[in-house]
C-alpha cells in the first residue's frame, strides 16, 4: 500500500525555519562583534563533570559514554568516575597554568556527591552551569512535561544551592531535548542553552517564558567525539582543535569577533597519557595574541550588549 498523500505535503515549507524557536540567519550577514580589549576570539573551555549511574536506563537511548556491559558495569562506571576524582584535577591544573578561566557543566548529582569540585571552581571565579541531574536522566520527546519540569528544577536548584552562583546556563545531557525543554529551563531563570550545535556564535532563541540564547558550545572537536567516538589519536585531536581555532582567528580578521569553545571530559582528557595533548592544544590557543579567556556567561553578556 502506498504511503498517505500527506507524506507529499509540506505545511512548513516557507521562508525561514520549520519551527519558531529561532530565526534563520547566515553568519556572514551579521554585524561584526567586538570583544573586550579588542580581542579577536573569545575562548571558552567547557569542562563536563558527569555521573553515569550503574543503573543507567537504556530507553529511549543511552548517553554516549554510558554503561555498556551487563549490570553491574563496574568498568565503565569507574572509568567515568575517574574523571571526577583524578581527571578534573589534572585538567584544572592545565587551565590554571595557561590562564584559562573555567566554565564547568555539572550534572547536579556530581555537585551533591563531590562538593569539593564546586569549591575548586568557585575559588577560581569560574562559572558553573546546569548539566541536568545525571547522565542517566535524559530529557526527551517521549517524557511527560511534569516529569521533565521536576528534573530541570532539581538540577538548577541543587546547583544554585551547592555553588551560591546564579547558574544561568543549561546543557542537556547528551544534548537531548523535548519540545518543552527550552520553555522549562527559561521558567527556572536559565539564560542560555548549549544543546544546539548549529552556529559559531551566540544567537537568540525563543521560549514560552521569554527569550534566552543559544551558546555555540563545541561538539565536533570534543575529546570524546574525536578520541572515543571516532577512535582517532590524541595527535589528531590536537590538530583539529588547533585548526579550528586558527580558522576562527582568521575569520575574526575579516568578519569581526569570534567564539572558540572546547568541551573537555576529564574522564577522557584527564588520563595520564592524554593530559599533555590537552595542554598542547590549549597552549596553541592561549599563546596566540588576541584571545579573551572568558566564561560562557561573560561571552554572552558581551554579545548581548551589542544586540
Amino acid at each position: 500500500m502506498a504511503i498517505s498523500d500527506d507524506y507529499l505535503k509540506y505545511p512548513k515549507r516557507a521562508h525561514g525555519m520549520d519551527h519558531d524557536r529561532y530565526d534563520w540567519s547566515m553568519i556572514q550577514d551579521r554585524p561584526p562583534l567586538k570583544w573586550p580589549g579588542d580581542a579577536k576570539v573569545a575562548v571558552c573551555v567547557m569542562v563536563a563533570l558527569e555521573f553515569f549511574p550503574l543503573d543507567q536506563p537504556a530507553k529511549p537511548f543511552k548517553a554516549p559514554g554510558g554503561m555498556a556491559t551487563p549490570y553491574p558495569d563496574l568498568r565503565h562506571y569507574t572509568l567515568r568516575d575517574y574523571g571526577n576524582r583524578i581527571g578534573f584535577y589534572r585538567v584544572i591544573k592545565v587551565l590554571d597554568e595557561l590562564g584559562v578561566k573555567p566554565t564547568v557543566a555539572f550534572n547536579s548529582v556530581v555537585a551533591e556527591r563531590y562538593p569539593q569540585l564546586v569549591d575548586e571552581v568557585n575559588r577560581r571565579d569560574g562559572e558553573i552551569l546546569a548539566y541536568g541531574v545525571d547522565m542517566g536522566k535524559l530529557h526527551h520527546g517521549e517524557m511527560a512535561i511534569e516529569e521533565e519540569a521536576e528534573l530541570v528544577r532539581q538540577s538548577v536548584a541543587s546547583l544554585r544551592q551547592a555553588s551560591g552562583q546564579a547558574v544561568t546556563g543549561w546543557w542537556s545531557p547528551a544534548r537531548s531535548e523535548s519540545m518543552n525543554t527550552l520553555d522549562l529551563i527559561a521558567a527556572e531563570g536559565i539564560e542560555y542553552v548549549c544543546d544546539w550545535i548549529n552556529d559559531d556564535l551566540p544567537y537568540p532563541i525563543r521560549s514560552k517564558n521569554g527569550q534566552i540564547h543559544s551558546m555555540p558550545i563545541s561538539h565536533d572537536i570534543d575529546d570524546q567525539t574525536i578520541i572515543s567516538g571516532y577512535h582517532q589519536s590524541e595527535d589528531d585531536f590536537v590538530d583539529q582543535v588547533c585548526d579550528a581555532f586558527d580558522i576562527h582567528m582568521a575569520d575574526s580578521k575579516t568578519h569581526g569577533g569570534r567564539v572558540f569553545t572546547l568541551t573537555i571530559h576529564p574522564w577522557m582528557s584527564g588520563q595520564p597519557h592524554r593530559i599533555k595533548s590537552l595542554k598542547r592544544a590549549l597552549s596553541h590557543v592561549m599563546g596566540t595574541s588576541g584571545v579573551w579567556s572568558a566564561t560562557a556567561s561573560e561571552i554572552l553578556d558581551a554579545f548581548k550588549k551589542q544586540g
Binding site: 502506498a2 550545535i197 548549529n198 571516532y230 581555532f245
Partner: protein
C-alpha cells in the same frame, strides 16, 4: 526483491572507447555541495526513521542546520578562491526556506540538480504516481527559483524504489549520481528515453570520510590527493571523472575547511584538469561518447 535491477551492463575497464574531454583534459573534476534541509518533525515513513532519537533530535537537527547557517558560506568562499563552481545537490525545499543561499549560488553560475524535496522525505513506499509528483515538484521549484531546468539527480537521502531511475528518465533527467560502479560516465538502462550515470563517489564524500569512516581531515586530504593522482594518470589514456561531494555541515567546520581548500588548491594547480559541473560532463558525454559507448556495450555483451 530482486538480486539485480539491470540498470547497467558489465563493462570492463579495458579497451573501452576513448573519452576525450574538452581541450585535451585528462580528468573532469567537479564539486557537488549537498545543500540540504532536514525537518525537525518529519512525518514518519514506515521503512526508515528520519532521526535516531525521539523527536526532536536536537543534536542531529542542529548539526545539519550548521551547514546552512555557517558551513555553506565557508565552503563557497573556499571554492571562489580556487575558481570552482558548484553543482548543487539540492533539497529543493531549501529554495523556499533559504532563498538567500540559492541566490548566492546562482550569482556564481552554479548548477542546481535534484536531491529531492527534504532530506527527511524518502521515496520508500511511494507509488509511481506519488514519485512522479515529487519529481515534478522538484523540476517546477528549481525552474521557478533559478530558471534552470534540472539535469541531474541524486535521490533524497539515497532512497529508491525499483522503478526510480525509469521515472527519472521519463521526466527528462539527464544524469544520475546514484550509481557508484564506475570512474567514467556510463549509459543506464531505462524503460524509455536515455540516461547516464556521472561518477559522484561515496569514497570522496565528506560524510563517508567523516561520519562513516571517521577519519581525520588530514587523512581525508591525503585520500583526495591519492584519488586525483590515480585518475589523473589514467586520464592520459581515456578521460576520467572525479567528484568531491560535500556538505557544509561536515567539510564547512573550522577544523576541516583547510583540508578541503588544500585539496582544491592541489587539484586546480594541475594542467589538463577540466574544472566543470555535472551538467557539462553529461552534455559533453552525450554529444561525443554516448553512442559509441552503447555500441561498445553491445560488442562486450556479444563477446
Amino acid at each position: 526483491m530482486k538480486s539485480d535491477l539491470g540498470f547497467y551492463d558489465f563493462n570492463p575497464y579495458i579497451n573501452r572507447p576513448r573519452i576525450k574531454w574538452p581541450n585535451g583534459a585528462r580528468i573532469a573534476f567537479w564539486v557537488a555541495p549537498n545543500i540540504e534541509y532536514y525537518e525537525l518533525e518529519p512525518p514518519p515513513n514506515p521503512t526508515r526513521q528520519a532521526w535516531a532519537r525521539p523527536l526532536p533530535d536536537v543534536q542531529m537537527y542542529s548539526s545539519r542546520d550548521y551547514g546552512n547557517r555557517v558551513g555553506h558560506w565557508r565552503v563557497m568562499e573556499a571554492m571562489d578562491r580556487h575558481g570552482v563552481r558548484g553543482s548543487v545537490s539540492l533539497n529543493v525545499a531549501l529554495c523556499d526556506h533559504h532563498p538567500e543561499i540559492i541566490k548566492d549560488c546562482a550569482d556564481r553560475g552554479w548548477e542546481f540538480y535534484s536531491h529531492g524535496i527534504y532530506n527527511t522525505r524518502f521515496v520508500f513506499n511511494m507509488d509511481k504516481d506519488q514519485e512522479r509528483a515529487m519529481i515534478k515538484d522538484v523540476f517546477d521549484t528549481v525552474k521557478k527559483h533559478t530558471g534552470q531546468t534540472v539535469s541531474g539527480w541524486l535521490s533524497p537521502a539515497l532512497t529508491y524504489n525499483e522503478w526510480t531511475l525509469d521515472l527519472l528518465a521519463e521526466a527528462g533527467v539527464q544524469y544520475v549520481c546514484d550509481l557508484f560502479h564506475d570512474d567514467q560516465p556510463q549509459p543506464v538502462n531505462v524503460d524509455n528515453g536515455r540516461l547516464i550515470s556521472v561518477p559522484y563517489s561515496l569514497e570522496m564524500n565528506d560524510i563517508i570520510a567523516y561520519n562513516v569512516n571517521q577519519i581525520p581531515p588530514r587523512q581525508y586530504l591525503n585520500q583526495i590527493k591519492a584519488c586525483f593522482d590515480q585518475l589523473y594518470k589514467e586520464g592520459a589514456e581515456s578521460g576520467t571523472v572525479m567528484c568531491i561531494p560535500l556538505h557544509g555541515y561536515a567539510v564547512g567546520h573550522p577544523h576541516r575547511i583547510a583540508a578541503f581548500e588544500e585539496a582544491l588548491e592541489y587539484i586546480t594547480g594541475h594542467d589538463d584538469v577540466w574544472v566543470t559541473t555535472g551538467r557539462e560532463i553529461a552534455e559533453w558525454y552525450y554529444a561525443h561518447n554516448y553512442d559509441q559507448a552503447v555500441e561498445h556495450l553491445k560488442l562486450v555483451k556479444g563477446a
